[in-house]
């Protein structure tokens, strides 16, 4: 009878240990992999490549692209416009949330990600493209 009692206590230990180990493993996985990937830099770079492709034709600036038709011409869907800011020098293109531009000289994980690149065009013209992507709320 008492031997059975001991076995029962040990079984409780077994379950307790099993639970502790499982909980610890789950906690470690959540802590380690739970942080979401920050794709804002990659998103901004991809947008810059897309913009660079669409504002040029035969390696010169396509003057037909302007602020009014930019999104349609470049097949860009900003979705929630407050999340993005796009600026193309020379063509006078400014789209999205202008307030995000103020964060470009500041650095921080929680601040909007600012990517600015330049493209050399045929004939020596240099065009600057800036994309700012805000953090998803």
């Amino acid at each position: 009878m008492n031997r059975r009692g001991t076995d029962k206590i040990i079984s409780v230990y077994w379950f307790a240990i099993l639970f502790i180990v499982a909980a610890a493993v789950v906690y470690m996985v959540v802590v380690f992999y739970g942080t979401p990937y920050d794709i804002r830099g990659a998103e901004a770079s991809a947008m810059i490549n897309q913009i660079a492709d669409c504002i040029t034709e035969n390696n010169i600036l396509k003057m037909s692209v302007n602020n009014d038709n930019f999104l349609e011409e470049c097949h860009i869907n900003l979705g929630k416009e407050e999340m993005y800011y796009v600026e193309v020098e020379d063509l006078g293109i400014v789209k999205g949330n202008f307030n995000l531009n103020d964060f470009c000289d500041k650095e921080g994980d929680k601040l909007p990600k600012c990517v600015e690149r330049k493209l050399y065009l045929l004939g020596g013209e240099i065009v600057g493209i800036k994309v700012v992507v805000n953090k998803v709320k």
Partner: protein
């Protein structure tokens, strides 16, 4: 005559066999329980260390997804445009090839992308993987761009990334 050791052993045996059954089982229980208490402590300590290490891990704080780091579309485009541009009525590529100064064209990369790349860059023409023209430095080729000149020749650009 019994030797004294034998007497002691006999006395121990008598005590065990004459002891009440409850007492004997309790000893067994205490032994098992102690083993499990120690085992639990050991498991909890090992798990605690693992959880602490996972929390401190530097990997989780730098989970920035990066696009293909081996290619740079804009830098390649800029270089092609620069080489195809004209200077004093002559195409820059032809001029630099004539002067054997093709490597000078990487100044365009330095000027436009100095925040991204080191000043040193390799640019050379390859013909079936053999270098035909250009100087090769020991640049760590982190970004590699190949520009096709014709069916046989390519221009190869090697850049070293900052950060």
């Amino acid at each position: 005559m019994k030797n004294p050791r034998g007497q002691i052993g006999e006395a121990k045996n008598q005590r065990f066999f004459l002891a009440p059954l409850d007492q004997k089982l309790k000893k067994g229980q205490i032994g098992d329980t102690m083993t499990w208490v120690v085992a639990t402590l050991v498991i909890v300590v090992i798990l605690g260390v693992s959880v602490f290490a996972a929390t401190l891990s530097p990997i989780k704080s730098s989970r920035e997804f990066k696009l293909d780091r081996k290619a740079d579309l804009l830098a390649t485009k800029s270089l092609v445009n620069y080489l195809s541009s004209e200077e004093k009525g002559e195409i820059i590529y032809t001029k630099l090839r004539k002067e054997e100064k093709l490597k000078n064209s990487t100044k365009i990369i330095e000027g436009l992308y100095e925040d991204d790349y080191y000043r040193e860059a390799d640019l050379y023409i390859v013909n079936n993987k053999d270098v035909v023209s250009g100087e090769i430095y020991d640049v760590k080729c982190e970004v590699e761009s190949k520009i096709k000149l014709n069916n046989l020749k390519d221009i190869l650009l090697c850049l070293g990334r900052k950060g």
